[in-house]
């Protein structure tokens, strides 16, 4: 397919205004199907390209900063596929959820503005439908941009291009959070913008160091041997710090619970599974692949940092009452796994880290959708006010359990296939290096899986099991728009758990190549 990747990136960008107009003129449902169609088409393009192996496209751009290209290889394709698959199915999910939010906000505004209160209900309802149409148009347009930004980042072939897309996904994210978030959404939106932008500029520093030392910003030209050691180290640290903010690793994580907690759930379900993991992609591409010698020096720090993040995130997740914040801390912990896997500096560990991205995307996607169903159908997100929902919303409960199992790494979900190989890699390096530190890290990593299990099971117990509070007696299962995406992901998790070669066979050769095994 000619220009497949270009289409996949540019179509959502170009058609975002169309989605806006459709939303305004025709309402949320056509806009949703339109968005869905675009993303479905581009997802098929992406999967099709992934099946045909490594795909590369190049277009002229700037003389100073190199060309504009797309590359989908063994590293990028799982990321790209997960990003677009999630984006595609979350479009469906968005509709009922966002309508819920729009109605809610409309009422809020009506309350603030008493002038509208005296009008008849007919006018009010037309005002409402106008309001909803406009908002849903805007929502889907921003949604497309957001998805496009994430995909562009993982397909970029140029440092500057990477950075540009990295920032592009930030801006619609900011608007999505600040416009339709929960709680102090504006403050949190700004916090999101501020944190991730800070990370991004530090990242940019690292890029510039590399780019100017090498004399080119194209990935193809980057060669560590041309970079003096101290500069390579400096830029690797800058890149790691910059991406660390995106990954929300320990010390840079504090924005994440706020943002994931406040963002509208479909966006949380994209932010957490798809977006923050792109930080890991960046580390893979920029540090592991391009600066292998520096990476070898840094690996142990990644390892420790990841470990601390795993345990810390898990421990903090235990303390949460807000279901989305809990999941957010869980994401932090899971990002710790990714970093831990990267720190293992072995083929298995790196494969595991990337596989963890995939499984985390699946599992956390399901769990966030679960949270969204609860928010829509129950109207609360406080775990202490929930209970016994399994009987009321069985499909959600089953999917949530599968999602939780995926995060816990229990076979036959895909989580196990991420985790065992990750830990195998950790152990392998520990043995090869004879390093007690790494061995202890391996052990603590396993302990962290128990911790993961504890907070997730406890959450499930408090949400879905136990006595049903009286105010939840009339709760109903979410609509098909909401449950179907969860079921798709749950099914995918199990398929992948039983047959992980779908991704292994692209990742492992790549990782072997990178590590020169």
């Amino acid at each position: 397919m000619e220009y497949a990747l270009l289409q996949a990136v540019v179509l959502p960008l170009l058609l975002a205004p169309v989605a806006y107009i459709i939303g305004r003129k025709a309402g949320p449902t056509p806009a949703m199907w339109f968005t869905f169609a675009i993303l479905l088409y581009t997802t098929i393009l992406i999967i099709n390209a992934a099946l045909s192996g490594t795909v590369e496209e190049h277009y002229p751009w700037t003389s100073q900063f190199g060309e504009f290209g797309f590359l989908m290889d063994g590293l990028a394709s799982p990321f790209a596929i997960m990003i677009y698959v999630l984006s595609t199915i979350l479009v469906l999910y968005s509709k009922p959820y966002m309508l819920h939010i729009f109605h809610h906000q409309f009422e809020e505004e009506q309350n603030i503005n008493p002038s509208a209160s005296g009008q008849t209900s007919v006018i009010e309802s037309s005002a409402l439908s106008n309001y909803v149409n406009t908002k849903s148009g805007l929502y889907f347009a921003l949604y497309l941009l957001f998805a496009m930004g994430m995909l562009g980042t993982v397909l970029a072939t140029n440092l500057i291009e990477f950075f540009v897309f990295f920032e592009i996904m930030l801006i619609p994210g900011f608007f999505l959070v600040a416009l339709w978030g929960a709680g102090q959404r504006r403050k949190i939106g700004l916090m999101f913008l501020f944190w991730t932008h800070s990370g991004a500029v530090v990242l940019l520093l690292g890029f510039l160091m590399i780019g100017f030392t090498v004399g080119s910003f194209d990935f193809a030209d980057i060669n560590e041997s041309e970079i003096p050691q101290d500069i390579a180290m400096f830029s690797a640290v800058a890149i790691a710090l910059g991406l660390g903010v995106k990954l929300a690793v320990f010390m840079f994580h504090i924005w994440l619970p706020y943002v994931h907690g406040a963002a509208p759930t479909p966006i949380s379900a994209l932010l957490s599974p798809a977006m923050i993991g792109i930080g890991a992609y960046g580390i893979f591409r920029l540090i592991v692949e391009f600066l292998p010698a520096t990476f070898a020096d840094l690996a142990i720090w990644f390892y420790i940092w990841g470990l601390v993040t795993m345990i810390y995130g898990g421990a903090m997740a235990l303390m949460q009452d807000d279901i989305k914040r809990l999941l957010a801390y869980s994401s932090i912990s899971q990002m710790g796994y990714l970093l831990f896997g990267i720190g293992t500096i072995s083929v298995l560990g790196l494969t595991g880290a990337e596989m963890m991205y995939v499984t985390h995307a699946i599992g956390k996607g399901i769990l966030f959708m679960m949270a969204g169903v609860i928010i829509v159908k129950v109207g609360t997100r406080s775990i202490s006010k929930l209970g016994g929902l399994a009987g009321k919303m069985p499909i959600t409960a089953v999917c949530a359990v599968i999602g939780a199992l995926t995060i816990m790494g229990i076979p036959p979900t895909s989580g196990f296939m991420g985790e065992w190989i990750l830990f195998a890699g950790a152990l392998e390096t520990a043995i090869e290096e004879g390093s007690t530190l790494r061995a202890v890290g391996f052990g603590l990593g396993l302990v962290a899986t128990v911790l993961t299990m504890s907070y997730l099971l406890w959450m499930l117990k408090r949400v879905f099991f136990g006595k049903t509070p009286e105010h939840l007696e009339n709760v109903k299962e979410g609509s098909w728009y909401m449950t179907a995406p969860m079921m798709v992901l749950a099914g995918f998790s199990i398929v992948l758990g039983i047959y992980p070669d779908i991704f292994y066979k692209t990742i492992i050769p790549y990782m072997s190549g990178v590590l020169g095994v």
Binding site: W61, N113, A178, M209
Partner: protein
């Protein structure tokens, strides 16, 4: 001898004639209110000038950044770049004033002064002689003093003008003093000769040369808004009529850099001292203080004023590392060009807001996204561009600036710290840019849409196209900047 068709002279002729004629017409017509008539004339003059610059460029009549000449003016690409930027800013101001000046007296003089100031701004960049530069500098300054205080009934305008005037007069005195020393040392006022003279200076006279450079930094730094010469700037920007603020922020400020590049940087390259550290320290101070002070501002104009101080700091990075990285001056010029558009656009947007809503207080701008959607959108885009968010044009110039600092890192130990300070400041700046965005879009009740001035919208749309277009495909601008950047080496001396 200067050719009579050379760009600076033609611009001078066109704008000067029109600038003189407008008040005469006004006196002859004995009327006060006919704002649009003068605006159109001024607009036409500016467009013709801009067209002439473009024509010269397209016909390759402009030499690549020659910088020195035996004459007082040189028709080179460096000046051309500034001419384009300044003419665009003047156009912005003229168009942006269209609605604003409807409510105020003496439009003829107003537009005439804008045109005269534009001549000054353009010619400073073309000057190759200190006297010429000084005179052009004054031609730029004096009309703007008057323009800032043009709203006589408005105490803020007057106060702004007073402060501006005091500093302006002081700094021009300092500049003359500096010129006198450099003249004394080299026996010439031609910049090329001055620099050459500096390069062969007796070592015992070196401190004097540095003294002159220091005075130039202070004198030009006042216009650039460098810390600690910046304090007049927020007050003046706040008090001045918004279109004039746009002229000041986007125009005269950049001219400071033009002069600085012509004199300070080149002069210092020759002096071959570890002088750049001074500029580096100034750069860091400037951007940090600018950004920090901007954060708490309640007034949009003032916030943007501080932001433009901060941007002076970014641009100064490029000057500071100029001798060690070829990218330095390119980045500075690029950012000057971008900043002219971004800040010009932002202040014109403010002018639009002031014209229609008569507020600049941030708290009163709540819900602007609904009241004035196009203006608000443009403002947001310009703010994000100022913050350096890709894919807007501002990103590329910041990229080049920080890149140049890192690029110079191989020979200059402290240069990377400039880049670090720069990126951290960039991040910090997003805090208040985001704050404005938040006020405009996420707060406020259901306000009704108001009519936006068409002239303002025209400026907004032009700028948005510029920022986004060159953000996505920056290649032409990069090429242009590269063409216009002087190469810092002694080979260029006459």
């Amino acid at each position: 001898m200067l050719e009579i068709t050379s760009t600076p002279l033609v611009i001078m002729a066109i704008l000067g004639t029109v600038g003189i004629i407008i008040p005469i017409i006004s006196i002859a017509r004995k009327e006060q209110g006919s704002n649009s008539f003068y605006a159109v004339i001024a607009f036409a003059a500016l467009i013709v000038s801009l067209g002439y610059v473009g024509y010269q460029f397209l016909n390759d009549n402009i030499a690549p950044a020659a910088l020195f000449s035996e004459d007082v003016l040189v028709d080179d690409a460096f000046g051309g770049l500034f001419a384009i930027a300044m003419l665009i800013v003047a156009l912005f101001t003229t168009v942006g004033s269209f609605n604003y000046m409807r409510k105020h007296n003496s439009p003829a003089v107003y537009y005439s002064l804008i045109l005269l100031a534009t001549i000054g701004m353009v010619l400073v960049a073309y000057s190759t002689d200190l006297v010429m530069l000084f005179v052009a500098w004054e031609l730029m300054s004096l009309p703007t003093y008057i323009l800032v205080g043009f709203i006589k009934k408005n105490p803020s305008s007057n106060e702004a003008a007073l402060k501006y005037f005091l500093f302006g007069a002081l700094s021009s005195a300092i500049i003359v003093y500096g010129i006198s020393i450099s003249y004394g040392l080299t026996g010439s006022t031609n910049i090329g000769e001055v620099i050459q003279g500096y390069s062969t200076l007796d070592p015992s006279l070196l401190p004097l040369a540095l003294l002159s450079v220091g005075m130039f930094i202070a004198g030009f730094g006042f216009k650039m808004g460098l810390v600690p010469f910046h304090q007049w700037l927020p007050d003046t920007y706040e008090g001045a009529p918004p279109p004039i603020t746009s002229l000041l922020a986007a125009g005269t400020k950049k001219v400071g850099f033009a002069a600085a590049i012509r004199i300070i940087v080149l002069g210092m390259v020759v002096l071959n001292l570890d002088w750049t550290l001074a500029l580096g320290i100034l750069a860091v101070m400037t951007m940090t203080i600018g950004n920090i002070a901007a954060i708490m501002q309640k007034n949009l104009t003032r916030m943007l004023a501080y932001s433009s101080i901060a941007h002076a700091g970014y641009i100064l990075i490029g000057l500071a590392v100029a001798p060690h990285s070829s990218l330095g001056l390119q980045g500075s010029l690029y950012h000057i060009l971008n900043h002219a558009v971004m800040k010009g656009m932002a202040f014109i947007a403010v002018a639009g807001i002031v014209t229609t809503l008569a507020v600049t207080n941030l708290d009163k701008l709540k819900g602007l996204g609904r009241r004035m959607p196009i203006t608000a959108l443009a403002l947001v885009i310009s703010l994000f561009a100022l913050a350096g968010v890709p894919p807007l044009s501002g990103f590329w110039s910041k990229l080049m600036l920080f890149g140049s600092a890192l690029d110079a890192g191989s020979t200059l130990w402290w240069a990377p710290w400039l880049a670090i300070a720069g990126v951290l400041n960039s991040a910090l700046s997003l805090a208040y840019y985001g704050w404005i965005t938040r006020k405009m879009y996420f707060e406020g009740e259901t306000e009704k849409r108001v009519k936006e001035p068409k002239s303002i919208i025209a400026v907004m749309i032009f700028s948005m196209i510029f920022l986004i277009g060159f953000g996505v495909y920056p290649e032409p601008l990069i090429q242009f900047v590269e063409f216009a950047t002087p190469v810092l080496s002694l080979d260029f001396m006459p």
